[in-house]
């Protein structure tokens, strides 16, 4: 039968991805001086698992890198090589390469073979960095996975099968000596110890000495015919066979071809050398199976004797140390986002329907209404709970985004020769999956920016009386219906004068009396960069405007900054919990209802006539708490016949976006609602000043105001 392996690829990609990110996290948190054994084991296992899967599914490039990675990790976790910072760097780079390779396979593209080769070479170099110490260890042969290329110098590995023809009772003495003699040639490993019933010994010898030297040595002890020396160099058919039995299952002749053998009878033992090359075998007779236990027992000595470095791998001590392992399947199920979104949509409809029923019921005669009321409020309660639970399916902890930053900070700070510590606070804060995905890029940009422009070099910091090591803090928290994410650095802070000078140079209209908040917002202008030296990290002036666009337009968020010269900068991002629902204030304008997102509202007020002024070229402004704010009549913007024509008869809703305030003139405030956002673009077309629509309780459509674009509109 042929099995289409490609059906398992997706699962492999996912699990390999998980292993890689786990590996990276573990590597980053590793204490280089005294790494936790459990962490080393977990890192090893991650590489090991990826190797197994990639080799099975034919991703040889991945298998190649992971193989070398694994061999090196194995030596480290066994204490044969000391971990070094540079080594971790190479591991991280190897992880990157693997991610690329994985992505390439996923997208049917070519990965960068050159880079992979480079990393493999580096890993191999580390692998052999202590070559001289190797013989002291029990043979640690390169794994037999074929694609890997760990050519170990000119050393050769032999499997020696020794079946003494003389009396078995003498062997005990001989064997001790034999092993010692072999040990002089290289590293020796006793594979099987003979017993009175099965006088067959097997040794694995890794040595640079020629085969003759080994034979000479045996000649001294025994008849030449008693000894079979075979080179255990990777046999070409190894991968073709790849399995084995330790017991009788087929006649020896076939065995040789098939590549398996039996440890329980002498014939089979003679065959084990071939078996080696095949890669599979049985330990004992499969029929009758009763012999299983005794056979295993007789092999016990050999097993223990050669446990060697691999012993750690099998020791129970490492259990539970695997943080890289995926959670047991029973704990979670994978559901496509589409299904979840459909559910969210349906619940959204349900919320609307519920509101309709409530509204209709309120028109019923009071006695009927009253009897309905109890069940209606119960329904409302349940609907809200249902909506919350469904929304929570899409919620993910922000640690999904934060987790990439230790690496970003590590790489970048060493590149810039800065010392930076990253602190993350509130990683458990949950927000919508859609937002999580969109947040990653802008946040990366902000962190890079803080590192590049904010945190100073150690010398400068020391001179300024600060600790040499700077700190960047990423903090997430819930505030009301918002998620607030802060990027805080204790660096030099932003230079107001420099920014203003730069803005003038760029022809951006500024005044020296601008409030700080507005000055800081200037850095989000396209093409704005104050970095004196343009680095490849940041400072090309592209990006911050994109960051702002992404956060505001892509995520319905807001971005604020605080900066103190010499003390650092705090960037505050406010995001809605989700893109699907919105807390809004409904306002009426000429009989139509509009929704103003609550996050933008500063206050609502009824102005006095004398506070309204008309400024030529700027239209009307209103005097609020010591400042003049542009007044924007929504009925003018949307061409609606107004019910209220004078601001003092209506209501002004003061909103703030992009650091600027505008007073929206509306007829009246209607109420506060949680509304389900429906896209206007997909159902109709993009309308300036409108970000979406929603269906109100009475079944009417209300438009949601796009405050940012209204603010821009008011600025002319």
């Amino acid at each position: 039968m042929t099995v289409d392996m490609s059906q398992f690829y997706q699962v492999f990609f996912e699990e390999a991805g998980e292993h890689l990110s786990n590996m990276e996290n573990l590597l980053l948190s590793l204490d280089i001086e005294s790494p936790e054994q459990e962490d080393l084991n977990a890192i090893f296992r991650a590489a090991h698992s990826i190797k197994g899967g990639s080799a099975t599914f034919g991703f040889t490039d991945i298998a190649e890198v992971t193989h070398i990675l694994e061999s090196l990790l194995d030596r480290i976790r066994n204490g044969e090589l000391a971990l070094q910072k540079d080594m971790v760097d190479v591991f991280l780079r190897a992880g990157d390469i693997l991610k690329d390779q994985l992505a390439a396979h996923q997208n049917d593209e070519e990965s960068d073979a050159e880079a992979a080769r480079g990393v493999c070479e580096e890993l191999t170099r580390w692998q052999h960095s202590d070559e001289s110490a190797a013989p002291a260890k029990v043979a640690q042969p390169p794994e037999s996975t074929p694609p890997a290329d760990t050519a170990t110098a000119p050393e050769q590995r032999y499997t020696i099968t020794f079946t003494p023809s003389s009396s078995p009772t003498e062997h005990g003495v001989h064997m001790e000596n034999m092993a010692a003699e072999l040990g002089k040639l290289g590293s020796v490993d006793i594979l099987a110890e003979g017993s009175a019933e099965h006088p067959v010994w097997r040794f694995a010898l890794t040595t640079a000495a020629p085969e003759e030297a080994i034979r000479e040595l045996f000649d001294f002890f025994a008849q030449p015919t008693d000894v079979v020396i075979e080179s255990a160099a990777p046999a070409p058919d190894e991968e073709e066979q790849g399995y084995g039995f330790f017991t009788d299952i087929a006649p020896p002749e076939e065995e040789t071809e098939q590549g398996y053998g039996f440890f329980t009878d002498v014939d089979a033992v003679r065959k084990t050398a071939e078996e080696e090359a095949q890669g599979y075998g049985f330990f004992e007779k499969i029929e009758p199976p009763k012999e299983t236990a005794p056979a295993a027992a007789s092999g016990g000595g050999a097993g223990r004797r050669e446990a060697g470095p691999k012993g750690d791998a099998a020791s129970p001590g490492k259990r539970g140390g695997d943080k890289a392992a995926p959670a047991a399947q029973t704990e979670s199920i994978r559901v496509s986002v589409e299904k979840v979104d459909q559910l969210i949509n349906l619940v959204g409809e349900l919320v609307i329907t519920q509101a309709m029923v409530a509204q209709t019921a309120s028109k019923l005669p009071p006695d009927v209404h009253e009897t309905l009321q109890v069940s209606l409020s119960q329904l409302e309660h349940n609907t809200r709970d249902l909506q919350e639970s469904v929304m929570s399916i899409r919620m993910m902890p922000i640690s999904f985004v934060f987790s990439r930053f230790p690496r970003v900070v590590r790489d970048l700070s060493s590149k810039l020769n800065k010392q930076v510590e990253l602190k993350t606070v509130g990683e458990g804060t949950e927000l919508d999956k859609g937002l999580i995905e969109k947040l990653s890029d802008p946040l990366t940009h902000l962190v890079r920016n803080s590192l590049d422009h904010g945190v100073e070099s150690p010398e400068k910091r020391l001179a300024a009386g600060k600790p040499a090591k700077g700190t960047i803090t990423l903090r997430a928290s819930h505030q009301g219906g918002n998620v607030v994410i802060e990027v805080i650095d204790d660096g030099a802070g932003m230079d107001r004068e420099k920014i203003l000078a730069k803005a003038k140079e760029r022809g951006i209209p500024v005044s020296d009396t601008m409030p700080d908040q507005e000055v800081w917002q200037l850095i989000f202008e396209a093409g704005f960069s104050t970095a004196e030296v343009v680095t490849d990290v940041s400072g090309r002036g592209v990006g911050m405007d994109v960051v702002k666009k992404n956060i505001i337009h892509g995520m319905g968020g807001r971005i604020e900054m605080e900066s103190h010269n010499g003390a650092g900068t705090r960037i505050i991002i406010r995001l809605p919990l989700t893109l699907a629902i919105l807390d809004g204030m409904s306002v009426s304008v000429g009989g139509d209802i509009f929704i103003t997102p609550l996050t933008y509202i500063v206050e609502s007020l009824k102005p006095r006539a004398e506070d309204i002024k008309t400024v030529s070229g700027r239209g009307r402004v209103v005097y609020v708490r010591g400042e003049y704010v542009t007044l924007l009549s929504l009925h003018d913007v949307f061409n609606i016949k107004p019910v209220v024509t004078e601001p003092q008869d209506g209501i002004l809703v003061l909103v703030e976006a992009e650091g600027k305030k505008v007073a929206l003139f509306v007829d009246e405030l209607v109420g506060q609602h949680q509304v389900v956002i429906k896209s206007l673009e997909t159902n109709f077309r993009k309308v300036a000043g409108i970000s979406g629509a929603t269906i109100m309780g009475d079944g009417k459509v209300a438009l949601i105001l796009d405050i940012s674009s209204l603010v821009r509109l008011s600025q002319g």
């Binding site: 039968m1 698992s49 099975t56 039995f245 330790f246 299983t292 050999a302 097993g303 050669e306 691999k310």
Partner: protein, 121 residues
Amino acid sequence: MAKSVLTVDDSASIRQMVAFTLKGAGYDVVEAVDGMDGLQKAKTKPFNLILSDQNMPKMDGLTLIKSLRALAQYKTVPILMLTTESSDGMKAQGKTAGATGWLVKPFDPQKLLEVVKKVIG
């Protein structure tokens, strides 16, 4: 009645591949995600063959094999180690633990089937 196989592997992709292949050949297949899970599942019903990975969280393959061999109902049931560890050391440990044989990763489905057929028909 179809012969039943328990496949123990922490890698979902390998597990699925093994299960798919063996189910296609008419075997009943039960999957377990690590040694601990495998041991528990093995206790719930008798299997004709157990395929186990070596490197797994919670409980590794060797420990699983030893634990199974300690159970009366698994004294003689064939157990194959599926492992990338093809070194003699690993094989000897497997043998000591009581494994019936080994199958080196990577293997293809045909090879797997060939070996399984050889063991339980």
